[in-house]
């Protein structure tokens, strides 16, 4: 069973993202939730996670810092990180992609946009040697 960590300071946003993921085929996934990047990192230390879905704008530790910490960790760097933000534009997408975000989605997300991102992630994995 896949384990997905959702980091967002809004409980409503976490629920909404989880519902979109479930509609997109993750019904059998286990979900972990964190209200900021610091809590997300703690959860990542405690349990193997297959995918991180993170908001950008969070208190204590934002999504960009969380992304950097994950990608600089020898143990965690292979976990794909999907960033969901209300502040996405082509420049921000380029910045986050340079930091090895797997995908960047604009809020509001929908099952269709999440599904597309998950499909892209699957495709990226298939292309890996």
């Amino acid at each position: 069973m896949k384990c997905i960590l959702i980091a967002d300071d809004s409980g409503m946003a976490r629920m909404f993202i989880r519902r979109c993921l479930e509609i997109s085929g993750c019904q059998a996934c286990e979900f972990l939730e964190a209200e900021n990047g610091r809590v997300a990192l703690q959860l990542l230390k405690e349990k193997p996670v297959d995918l991180v879905v993170s908001d950008l704008n969070m208190p204590e530790m934002n999504g960009e810092e969380l992304l950097k910490r994950i990608k600089s960790s020898p143990r965690l760097h292979e976990i794909p990180v999907l960033i969901i933000t209300s502040a996405a534009n082509p420049k921000k997408v380029a910045e986050l992609t340079a930091l090895h975000a797997a995908a960047v989605l604009n809020k509001p997300v929908s099952p269709a946009s999440i599904s597309e991102a998950l499909g892209m992630l699957g495709h990226q994995r298939e292309e890996r040697p």
Binding site: M12, A13, K91, N106, P108
Partner: protein
């Protein structure tokens, strides 16, 4: 306080957000603007206030004033609840904060060039009126039977 010329773009941001998240249509509500904090006719007896700072490159904020009745409907819609059993003010305020966060991000992406990053602060919510400068601009919207307002301050008020 004036009606903001940016209202059509804000309507686009509000509509996208409401339609995607709660399948609700929103239209501009063309009533003369007033001082929303003082007019009992403009602000329902029980309203939620949510403000989000715009940090860069524009400086200002967006404040949404929304009737509690609409906040309840939005929250129930988002969670798929058919009754009020699990509703709390905390959950309602969290839902409104997420809507405001999403709407403000959409608005800035419409207003700024594609190669321009922007930064938003964290939303603040309250059941009592939040302060805002007199030289603000307002856009009013209707969603079903309810109306709500967005007040734009700082650089956003002069666009």
């Amino acid at each position: 306080m004036t009606t903001a010329s940016v209202c059509p773009k804000l309507l686009q941001a509000v509509s996208e957000t409401f339609e995607t998240m709660i399948f609700t249509q929103v239209v501009l509500w063309n009533q003369p603007p007033g001082d929303l904090s003082k007019s009992s006719a403009a602000v329902p007896p029980r309203s939620y206030w949510c403000s989000i700072p715009v940090i860069s490159p524009l400086k200002g904020s967006m404040l949404m004033i929304i009737p509690a009745t609409l906040a309840v409907e939005i929250t129930k819609n988002l969670y798929g609840w058919t009754d009020n059993a699990e509703l709390t003010e905390t959950v309602e305020l969290d839902a409104i904060a997420e809507l405001v966060n999403t709407i403000s991000g959409r608005l800035l992406s419409f207003l700024l060039p594609e190669d321009q990053s922007f930064e938003l602060g964290l939303p603040e919510t309250s059941e009592t009126p939040l302060e805002y400068p007199q030289e603000s601009a307002v856009c009013k919207f209707a969603a079903g039977e309810d109306t709500f307002a967005c007040i734009l301050t700082g650089d956003l008020a002069t666009l």
